[in-house]
Symmetry: C5
Subunit: 303 residues, 5 copies
Amino acid sequence: MSIKPFTVTVPADIPHKMQQVYTNNYLALTKNTGNLLLFTCDHKVEHLNADFYGVDIHPDAMHPGHIFEIAAHGAAGALATHGGLIARYGLQYPSVNYVVKLNGKTNLGTTMDNPHSAQLYSVDDVIKLQQSSGLAIRGVGITLYLGSTYETEMLEKAAHAINQAHQHGLVVIVWIYLKGVAIADNLVAELIAGIAGVGVSLGADFIKIKPPIHAQGLRIATIAAGNSKIICAGGNMRPLHDACQTLYEQIHVGGTAGAALGRTIFQCSRQEAIARSFAFAAIIHDQVDVETALEIYAKKIAA
Amino acid sequence: MSIKPFTVTVPADIPHKMQQVYTNNYLALTKNTGNLLLFTCDHKVEHLNADFYGVDIHPDAMHPGHIFEIAAHGAAGALATHGGLIARYGLQYPSVNYVVKLNGKTNLGTTMDNPHSAQLYSVDDVIKLQQSSGLAIRGVGITLYLGSTYETEMLEKAAHAINQAHQHGLVVIVWIYLKGVAIADNLVAELIAGIAGVGVSLGADFIKIKPPIHAQGLRIATIAAGNSKIICAGGNMRPLHDACQTLYEQIHVGGTAGAALGRTIFQCSRQEAIARSFAFAAIIHDQVDVETALEIYAKKIAA
Amino acid sequence: MSIKPFTVTVPADIPHKMQQVYTNNYLALTKNTGNLLLFTCDHKVEHLNADFYGVDIHPDAMHPGHIFEIAAHGAAGALATHGGLIARYGLQYPSVNYVVKLNGKTNLGTTMDNPHSAQLYSVDDVIKLQQSSGLAIRGVGITLYLGSTYETEMLEKAAHAINQAHQHGLVVIVWIYLKGVAIADNLVAELIAGIAGVGVSLGADFIKIKPPIHAQGLRIATIAAGNSKIICAGGNMRPLHDACQTLYEQIHVGGTAGAALGRTIFQCSRQEAIARSFAFAAIIHDQVDVETALEIYAKKIAA
Amino acid sequence: MSIKPFTVTVPADIPHKMQQVYTNNYLALTKNTGNLLLFTCDHKVEHLNADFYGVDIHPDAMHPGHIFEIAAHGAAGALATHGGLIARYGLQYPSVNYVVKLNGKTNLGTTMDNPHSAQLYSVDDVIKLQQSSGLAIRGVGITLYLGSTYETEMLEKAAHAINQAHQHGLVVIVWIYLKGVAIADNLVAELIAGIAGVGVSLGADFIKIKPPIHAQGLRIATIAAGNSKIICAGGNMRPLHDACQTLYEQIHVGGTAGAALGRTIFQCSRQEAIARSFAFAAIIHDQVDVETALEIYAKKIAA
Amino acid sequence: MSIKPFTVTVPADIPHKMQQVYTNNYLALTKNTGNLLLFTCDHKVEHLNADFYGVDIHPDAMHPGHIFEIAAHGAAGALATHGGLIARYGLQYPSVNYVVKLNGKTNLGTTMDNPHSAQLYSVDDVIKLQQSSGLAIRGVGITLYLGSTYETEMLEKAAHAINQAHQHGLVVIVWIYLKGVAIADNLVAELIAGIAGVGVSLGADFIKIKPPIHAQGLRIATIAAGNSKIICAGGNMRPLHDACQTLYEQIHVGGTAGAALGRTIFQCSRQEAIARSFAFAAIIHDQVDVETALEIYAKKIAA
């Protein structure tokens, strides 16, 4: 298929003097395509060590530096993780685009059924990190749980963070999940479309959602998101072919603009993870089909 | 009927240097009539996607841009919606007058019976959006639920927002609803008159209320509101004739100064919605009768 | 009786440059007598519309402007009401002395048995209103409920407001009520003396209390208040003679320095309300007896 | 006994430019002895009027000015009471050293078993009062209840207040009490030693505690307090001889550095209270024995 | 064994102008080795007096000055305790490196099963103390309880403190404990590895943990911590040989970078405590074996 050249539309809440910064950040994150492969690695807080060590997880994943190696040598648009981790490893990986995840919570139980994510960093903290480090911090990520009894506080913090991030020309990705005492089923298509509407009402650039089982269930959501773009969470580690097939359908059937992938990449060896990232990137950035993506992977893994 | 020329009365909390700004905003919002047709579209947060997709809702409504199209080509005094949505679409619709809805909540259940609206934007955020965008942001809207256990917090935030908005010459519309554990019946005329009194005590310019079944039940409320003005919420989508008849009675029997209409307009096709807005505007701004309003509608729909 | 000429004692927390402002405000509020007739009208928030419309309430009371008419043409030292209402009507009544009521709550039930008053305005907000309006804002009022589970928060806010108000030379009236889960009987003389002691410990200029049934029960309280002055709340509408007799006894038996009257004045017609205010003022400011006060009333009502 | 000349040790958190101010304040409060007789009178908030009027309480105590009279003419190092009361009476008593009690709560029940003291004043408020009044405000007092469910908040506020007070060269006395749902017995010697350790860890200059029944039980606590000094609360009104005996033992057996006395002084007549203060001061400042103290009292009462 | 010369890696969130300060602090704390023996003494708040007086505790420990004596004459990298205690004793011990413990709680019961540590000092307070005292304050310590219902608040405060401390070039040690209603067993190796991952994600320089019973259980944790370093808490007083053996295994089997020892040192006499600190320091800084460490101890105790 032919790919349209991409032009960034700058939202109205970006100050004039930050428009070029925002445009540059947007283009860098999306590799000039408008579509996003976000390599999301906030699991050390969210799931403690469960995603980094165990059966079926490659030993490379034990080391925090692993995700930076993949980010530096793979094809994702950016590495999204907490600011402290970027502070500890970023200077060794200056070529990477970074998205600072602003909030997080553990899985230790007290807030699992009714989550309340801790706001670890303000946008001002991010800007200070950007300035002291010189790193290519292109955006921020924030999780918002709708349906929790803490929804009010989290909505306030998310709206404020989006607003502040745009003041500094940063691109914003909002993880919006249906989770909490009010939620019986978080894969209902109407509700997914609903959170897309919340995302665009908050002014998010990208909205990361947990996808429904069938890509068709994304159509209404991607329309409801309007000119905010939907990217789907990857979930557990999956075979490459399956992951590529799902991703292709999310984009071409569901209308999404990319994916936020973590475990499916970082639970592999360094070499495998990097090769996989090229396959996913080809589907997202270059709109290739699954077969072509797998060929790209095969070449990388053989290299 | 003959219409009196309208002069804006500037409240005492508008700073001197902002008096002209306030006057301009007031006149723009009310089309120089003092009466207000507010096109309210905060439903993407309040009701998720339920008002935008489904049986009896025109497919045009699925797209977030729909409400901006209606606002740009219709006859409402302003489009009221959340700041993020204005940030994403506003620059495409620079002719529209905007009212930024400052707070909101979803309908996911945790706060439905005892609501607590999240403060998404401060007035300072609104001013920054106004400055960065150059858009005609004329006022702010804020919802206040009386009877909820969160009444104290929401009263504090509403009073503060009104105060701050007036510091910047913005017109303030307060949505005051009776909702929460203390409320058995939210359509009692005495209570509606009571919230009108709260509205004027807080210094609101316009008070949006859920109207009683009969317009006569508004008389005491519109008197109790004093020189703050009452506008009625539209509620669910209704046949045009009914909606016009109700609106006419609210104004001429109840003493209201307009209406805040959403679903009755935006759940229609673009063309129908625009034509309807002209009918409502004629009743509100030009004080025409229902028959005349329907003729105006008919001409617009035929155009 | 002979009346001593009155000299204002400036408290130690008034900054030097604000001493003259405070003295002027104190003299204006007390008509140079040191005694205070405060026309308190915060009922639109506290009781919604119940005090303004109904059997035995004059129809004049329906209109928010009514209280301003009484304040402008009657004899009270000041009109105490919420800042928003002053913002909406004050410029039409520039001769009135105003006391801005800083907090309030409704009677909708959630906090009735255990009240928590919402802080609607900061002292800074009041100063901004004073500056933008040029109105004679002479003081602030704040309600403090002792015995509520929110006592801690309200004590903090009251102390802070008193402190801030004195920084700006404003006179402070604190409404101290015994109300909440810890209070079985709010008319016990020991407890009333206790709240007087709290009032002077907080540095209040005037302490508004709900009086005990017999004026004798005020003696200990007015002593305990020291050089803070006690004024009694008026409560429900009462016959003029009764109200005057009670007021006289509160002052001459109980040792109070005036009264805070609302319904007994504003539920009457404009003419009656104004005449009543002159009767009360004569007892408070001029130390006349009840008979003389009633004669003053009779002359005013006949005028 | 011979008394060592006293030199103030300035803590490390006093800024250089405030070291002389701190030294002066410390010497003034302790009458150049390093030991402290604090005349504590925060009871109007803590106990309402119960300590000021009733059987066995002298009528002089009804008047708020009574404590100032005693402070001005007696021998205590300072009068400790709330800032508002100092604001109302202080200018009449410019010779008194003042300690501003920063927090307080009533005894109305809601927080009696699990106390939460309201922070009425910040240190900045105290400094403003000092500057506007010119009064000799030498220090601040703050109550900390350990064992309450509000312990976390109160520890934070106490630590912050100590820190801020030292920034301004003010001496800090912390009232540390064992009170709350976690406390079965507040006179256990190990726990009293424990709160002494908390006091020195927070950097308090003086720690006011409720003493155990026997002075011997104070030994470990006064050692645990290190170079912070322990002073004992006086509790209820007591016969002078008993009070002197207890005080003497607290100092010479328990190792304390003085006492914080209120009711045992102020519930007496003005003359008796002043004479008593000289007796207590002699034991504390001059290290006299009980017999000598009583002689001093006798002379004063006869004067 | 041969020891590699140590070079400090400065994290990316240290501002340029603070890089040298951070490097100096890091080298001073670790005695130029990169490994840390932290003499932790926050027990006066955490355990009240229980660790300072009793059977098997040397009487020297009763005096707060004891820990400063040990710090000044022993071999630990720094003394970690609360800011108030440093303020009271620090100037007498100017040669000591200090780590200010920012938060704390007592063991009085209300938060024991579900802890919430009070934030006693901000980083700004620490900087002020550093400036007013001239003391060698090299870092800050903060406790974070994961698994408590207060986890959200404590995560926010810990992240903020780390960020702020790095802004000023201070080294950060985070005490991370598994404690709260969600925690059944706090010595599970997977969870310990999990908190190591949280520590590095927050950007901690050192992470203090409660170690598992066998040092082998630390391997995954020390890998998961990446370039943040793990140090183990010492727990109760133990025989020197046992304590040295455990420490040696933690470093050489578990991969840790030192220890945070308190009671095992300070519950001894001054001489014994100092000698012990040299033994531990030899294992940590000089990588000696247990036998050598005991010889060092023996020489010191004999000196």
